[in-house]
């Protein structure tokens, strides 16, 4: 605890011999760095220098200028951790004690002092100072370790939770797989049972010559397809021909095994197709076309037993004899009476009605079984086929449930249970329901669909009006495929019944019309198109001095307003098709420099007065202007201005101007970076330009230029490389020995000369956009590298920290061992006799104690190191955060800029109004043309032949100017 090299003492005293003496005394005690000042003012200067660290500040009370206590009070602010000692010439204890109590000084010493006293006091202060420092480190460390403990515990908990969750998921995955496997096994087994061809056909088709032939055809095709697939897979040419007899001789003996196997497999595979055989009725309504049980008359008519006229007459008669209805007179009776229908057909029709009814209910029944996963669709299809076959053979309707029970698909209990839930009480619908005379169906119902397909209406002929028969209308709706928004039966019936006017329209189906949305729109309240085009003088130079018409806004003015988006809504036509409407886009208001948002964020307000502008990324800014009278040269230096810059003279060789808009007389050998436009009255020479805006100049020579806007050059473009996202206007000039790429096309007077190197013109290409993307990518990858460096650094720091951590743990562990050993030695010593043994033990004890103390010192120094590392890690974290923010910002900026540039479709067009020389290379987005001859006024375009795969090409059209 004696001297320390790290920390110095500041002594402020105007009595030099005293200071000299003090320095000597302190040096002997190891305090070699004693710095002195003659007065308080000097002392303060020393404290203000951050390189100085004093653990102790001593000051004489009596000095010219600041008194000692005044100086020490001021030093509290500049060096709060230092200890402060006042040197007094007389013993005014009351005043001193007062200062001590106020916390201004920690210690005082009276002149003349005793050197021993001085040393003791300084040692005390040094000890206290060191202990405060130590306490600070330990405080930080314990706090940090506490957080770490909490983090590790939380991490452990999270890990455990995640583990449990993950394990649970995996377990579930295993369960699902086991389930799938068992299902797959079942299905495989299910398939293995081949009932034989005869049985399979019996259960799938109605056995007759036609159906069997069709089944054979399907099976044969199955065989052909199967062999075909296998042949293709093995690269064999397969040419199925008719079966030549006796050809099997070339096949091996055991071929029949294969044949049977193939037939068995193929027939099973095509079984679903076999179900469809004969199920499509050739004419009229098939049994399975009814969705409800028809009237007797309707069925008789549908099946062609009676004509519509006969049916109407019977219905009319039935109505007239209404009084007899109580006696059970039905339409069937009337039909038979009138000899429209033979009695033998009567029973057939009733049977069919009963079958339709059963079939309808069985459809429900089958659906329930499938939903309950008791039977497969295949099972029920087979049963339906059997049911139909049975009905056609015998005229008896066997319930599907019975068939399924019989073929062991379901148990009788299940059948009974489901049947109980169905309403099978009603038998065949009695045909004696009141029936009004029907109209003559020969007259046509008029059904029309609106152009937008969202509405259908009918007009009903007089003959049908006043009836309650909606079947013809329903049939018509169905026939036309109208499925969506169909009017209710009751409504249709109501209309037909109450209608009188055959011209009256009734809407039978109403779809939903789509509602178009509205894209968000931004309205700008200043001239965003202002291009600041100057006046072109006869010599081609441009006068930009007339700036009276440039837009100007005052602080607080509304610059832009956003009209919010309205969401669109798709519709559905009456045929059930979705009617799509175009998507709408949102728009982002963006405020740049000098502009800010209104409270509702729907408006942009000017924050300063100046020139408003809309930049390439869509941000609205207001720029102030900086004017340079004369040249940009050694006098002005490089210019970096957040606003517009006006240079009345020339931007000289080697200088850089970075600003929003730049207007200059001339640019020669400079670097220009503008966020806005660049306007140069005369030429740009030997210069690199990067600009987000438009560029205007008289001529360009040896310029590398990248611009997001348009370029206008009144005279020559020579030896330059120009990539722009807008269009080039060079209608009075010429391009020689240059590469010019303009995304929105070029209009030029002349390209090339007899002698000059030929030029390359690129039309409608994305060169500038690519350049922008690359520039951002470079920037981003630069930040990424920086980020990686910080992450690595943090990782290394963490590793070092953790290594120290292990180090401490080891030291502590060793200490514990030493402690135990000490206890043991102490115990032995207690038992030992006085003399040598006891002395040895005492020596050993002392050694152990020293080891423990050394370990403590080591741990303390590690703790201090850890404290430093913690601070470095915190600094790393700040850097990492800032890198991530910068990457996000750059990515967003890149996206915004490119999106905005790509919004306008490229214009692959070059217009030459005087001459274009041979050798000129013209490149569009995909095609290239090298001119082999000189041409006059002409227009070059990359055309699309319309063929999707046809190569695009550059076509030339000679202009007649």
């Amino acid at each position: 605890m004696s001297g320390s090299e790290e920390h110095a003492i500041l002594v402020v005293d105007d009595d030099e011999p005293i200071v000299k003496n003090m320095r000597r005394v302190l040096k002997r005690k190891g305090f070699s760095r004693v710095i002195s000042a003659l007065n308080g003012e000097q002392g303060i200067k020393l404290l203000e220098d951050t390189r100085n660290h004093f653990f102790l500040i001593m000051s004489d009370q009596r000095m010219p200028g600041l008194s000692g206590s005044e100086f020490l009070e001021k030093s509290m602010v500049l060096s709060p951790e230092s200890r402060r000692m006042l040197i007094t010439g007389y013993s005014d204890f009351d005043a001193i004690v007062d200062a001590v109590n106020k916390g201004e000084i920690h210690q005082y010493i009276a002149k003349p002092w005793n050197n021993d006293d001085l040393i003791l006091r300084i040692q005390t202060e040094h000890d206290i100072y060191n202990r405060f420092q130590e306490r600070k480190h330990l405080f930080n460390l314990t706090r940090h370790q506490n957080t770490k403990l909490f983090d590790v515990a939380a991490k452990q908990k999270k890990n455990l939770e995640r583990f449990i969750h993950e394990l649970e998921e995996k377990k579930q995955g295993v369960e699902e797989l086991v389930q799938a496997l068992s299902e797959a096994r079942q299905e495989a087994e299910y398939k293995e049972i081949f009932p034989g061809l005869d049985e399979l056909l019996t259960r799938t088709i109605t056995m007759n010559q036609k159906n069997l032939a069709e089944a054979f055809s399907i099976s044969r095709k199955g065989v052909m397809d199967t062999i075909g697939v296998i042949a293709r897979k093995n690269g064999i040419t397969f040419s199925p021909g008719p079966a030549p007899s006796g050809n099997t001789g070339r096949l091996p003996e055991d071929v029949f095994e294969i044949i049977d196997q193939v037939i068995e497999n193929v027939v099973q595979a095509v079984e679903p197709a076999l179900f469809r055989i004969g199920s499509e009725p050739s004419t009229g309504m098939g049994i399975d076309d009814y969705t409800e049980v028809p009237d007797f008359g309707e069925l008789a008519f549908n099946d062609g037993y009676i004509t519509r006229g006969e049916m109407d007459m019977a219905a009319k008669e039935l109505a007239e004899r209404e009084s007899d209805r109580s006696t059970g007179l039905t339409i069937s009776t009337v039909l038979v009476e009138k000899a429209f229908l033979q009695r033998k057909d009567l029973s057939r029709l009733f049977a069919k009605l009963a079958f339709i009814q059963t079939r309808l209910l069985d459809r429900e029944f089958a659906q329930i079984l499938i939903e309950r996963e008791v039977a497969s669709k295949k099972d029920t299809d087979r049963a339906f086929r059997k049911q139909l076959n049975h009905f056609e053979d015998s005229g008896i309707s066997t319930p599907l449930g019975d068939i399924l029970v019989e073929s062991d698909v379901i148990v009788p209990e299940l059948r009974d249970e489901i049947i109980a839930t169905q309403d099978r009480s009603g038998t065949v619908k009695p045909d004696n329901a009141p029936k009004a005379p029907s109209s003559d169906y020969g007259t046509v119902i008029d059904l029309q669909v609106s152009q937008d397909r969202t509405q259908a209406w009918i007009r009903v002929p007089e003959s049908l009006l006043g009836t309650t028969d909606i079947m013809p209308v329903k049939a018509l709706i169905k026939k036309r495929g109208i499925t969506n928004g169909v009017a209710k039966d009751a409504e249709i019936r109501e209309f037909i019944k109450n209608g009188t006017d055959p011209l009256e329209k009734f809407i039978v189906a109403q779809g939903t019309a789509p509602r178009a949305g509205k894209s968000a729109k931004i309205v700008y309240h200043f001239n965003t198109e202002y291009d600041g085009k100057g006046v072109v003088r006869d010599d081609g130079s441009i006068d930009f001095t007339d700036r009276g018409d440039s837009p100007y806004v005052k602080k607080g003015a509304v610059l832009a307003e956003k009209q919010t988006m309205e969401e669109p809504c798709n519709g559905m036509d009456i045929f059930g098709e979705t009617l799509l409407v175009g998507e709408v886009a949102d728009a982002d208001l963006k405020a740049g420099d000098g502009a800010g948002f209104s409270e509702d964020e729907l408006r942009i307000i000017a924050e300063v007065s100046g020139q408003p502008s809309l930049d390439a990324a869509g941000a609205v800014s207001v720029r102030e202007q900086y004017t340079v009278r004369g040249d940009v040269d050694f006098k002005t230096g490089n210019i970096h201005f957040n606003g517009n810059v006006l240079v009345t003279g020339t931007v000289r060789q080697g200088f850089t101007v970075e600003c929003d808009d730049l207007t200059a007389g001339e640019v020669n050998g400079a670097t220009i970076l503008t966020r806005g436009d660049l306007k140069v009255s005369n030429g740009i020479v030997n210069t690199r330009v990067e600009s987000h805006g438009n560029i205007m100049a008289k001529f360009m020579n040896n310029v590398t230029l990248f611009a997001g806007g348009n370029l206008m050059v009144t005279r020559e473009i020579m030896g330059s490389q120009v990539l722009i996202s807008g269009s080039l206007n060079n209608e009075a000039g010429r391009i020689t020995d240059s590469l010019v790429a303009a995304r929105l096309g070029l209009s030029v007077k002349q390209v090339g000369t007899e002698k000059a190197e030929s030029a390359t013109i690129r039309l409608g290409t994305d060169d500038y956009i690519k350049w922008v993307a690359q520039r951002f990518d470079r920037e981003i990858s630069g930040i990424r590298e920086e980020l990686d460096r910080h992450i690595t650094e943090k990782q290394n720091l963490d590793n070092t920290y953790n290594a120290l951590h292990v180090d401490v743990a080891n030291q502590t562990f060793a200490q514990e061992k030493l402690n135990r050993k000490m206890e043991f030695v102490e115990k032995n010593m207690g038992r030992a006799d006085a003399g040598e043994e006891r002395q040895n033990a005492a020596r050993e004890l002392k050694e152990i104690e020293e080891s423990i103390t050394r370990a403590d010192e080591r741990i303390k120094s590690i703790f201090k190191e850890q404290d430093t590392i913690m601070q470095q890690v915190a600094a790393c974290d700040r850097e990492i955060g800032s890198c991530n923010d910068r990457i996000l910002a750059a990515e967003q900026e890149k996206k915004d800029l490119i999106d905005r540039l790509e919004k306008t479709a490229p214009v692959p067009e070059l217009k030459v109004n005087k001459r274009i020389y041979r050798g000129t290379r013209i490149t569009g987005p995909t095609a290239t043309l090298v001119l082999t001859r000189e041409m006059g006024a002409s227009k070059f375009t990359e055309t699309d032949t319309g063929e999707p795969d046809a190569p695009k090409q550059i076509t030339c059209q000679v202009l007649n100017l």
Partner: protein, 241 residues
């Protein structure tokens, strides 16, 4: 600060009056003390103390052991306790000796000024509190470190165990999946037939074409059989011919 901490001061002086006078001052600032009339008694007291003394104030001139001798031994027995020496004008050499040996922290000149004495004692107690507080923090930091070490080791261990368990499940899933895949392939009749054909060396153009013809002819025969059993013939022309 002094109030939070239960300080106890050891006063050693052969003159009981001096001891009593100092004790009165300490009482005024509410600090407990123990008085001993010789260095030997003081050492004995230090040996038997249950709570360590914050501060020892000892007179230099005593019969037997001198103050500085006593404090030198006290330093060995209770190194953290602060040691102040009470001296008269004639004891200059003793002080210098003690300072050089590092056995005293301060000396108080007789006759003492009461206010100065109080300030000196207070500074000493403050220093002692710092020593104790730092010691406590140091022990805490060590304990935390040990706990962190254990927790981290546990975490590593459990992570390895978790990984193992998950890996095992993954293996199980992989096994089941491959089994399922094999199962599906078995059910694909085309693959089955292909395997059958391969087994019988039928995957050659001529053989395959012949086989197809043979299958179709066999198939027709079987259908013809069924037709006959149902009382009709297969038609002459088959749809799809």
């Amino acid at each position: 600060m002094a109030k939070k901490f239960d300080h106890i001061i050891l006063l050693v002086d052969d003159e009981e009056q001096v001891g009593r006078a100092l004790g009165r001052i300490l009482k005024q600032i509410k600090v407990k003390y123990v008085y001993m009339d010789s260095g030997e008694a003081g050492l004995e007291r230090l040996k038997t103390a249950t709570t360590p003394f914050s501060l020892i104030i000892s007179d230099q001139r005593m019969p037997g052991m001198t103050g500085s001798e006593f404090l030198e031994q006290a330093k060995e027995m209770s190194p953290d306790t602060l040691r102040f020496l009470l001296t008269g004008y004639a004891d200059v050499d003793a002080v210098t000796h003690a300072v050089n040996k590092g056995s005293i922290h301060r000396y108080i000149a007789k006759p003492w000024d009461k206010k100065e004495f109080i300030e000196t004692v207070k500074t000493g107690l403050e220093q002692y509190e710092l020593i104790v507080e730092n010691d406590r923090l140091f022990k805490l930091a060590k304990a935390q470190n040990a706990k962190l070490y254990t927790l981290n080791t546990d975490l590593k261990k459990s992570t390895v165990l978790h990984k193992k368990a998950v890996l095992q499940k993954d293996k199980e899933i992989k096994k089941l999946k491959s089994r399922l895949e094999i199962g599906f392939e078995n059910r694909n009749y085309i693959n089955e037939i292909e395997a059958l054909l391969r087994e019988h060396d039928m995957l050659e153009q001529e053989k395959l074409n012949s086989l197809y013809a043979a299958i179709v002819s066999e198939l027709f025969e079987q259908f013809q059989d069924i037709a006959t059993r149902n009382g009709f013939e297969m038609p002459e022309s088959i749809p799809g011919d």
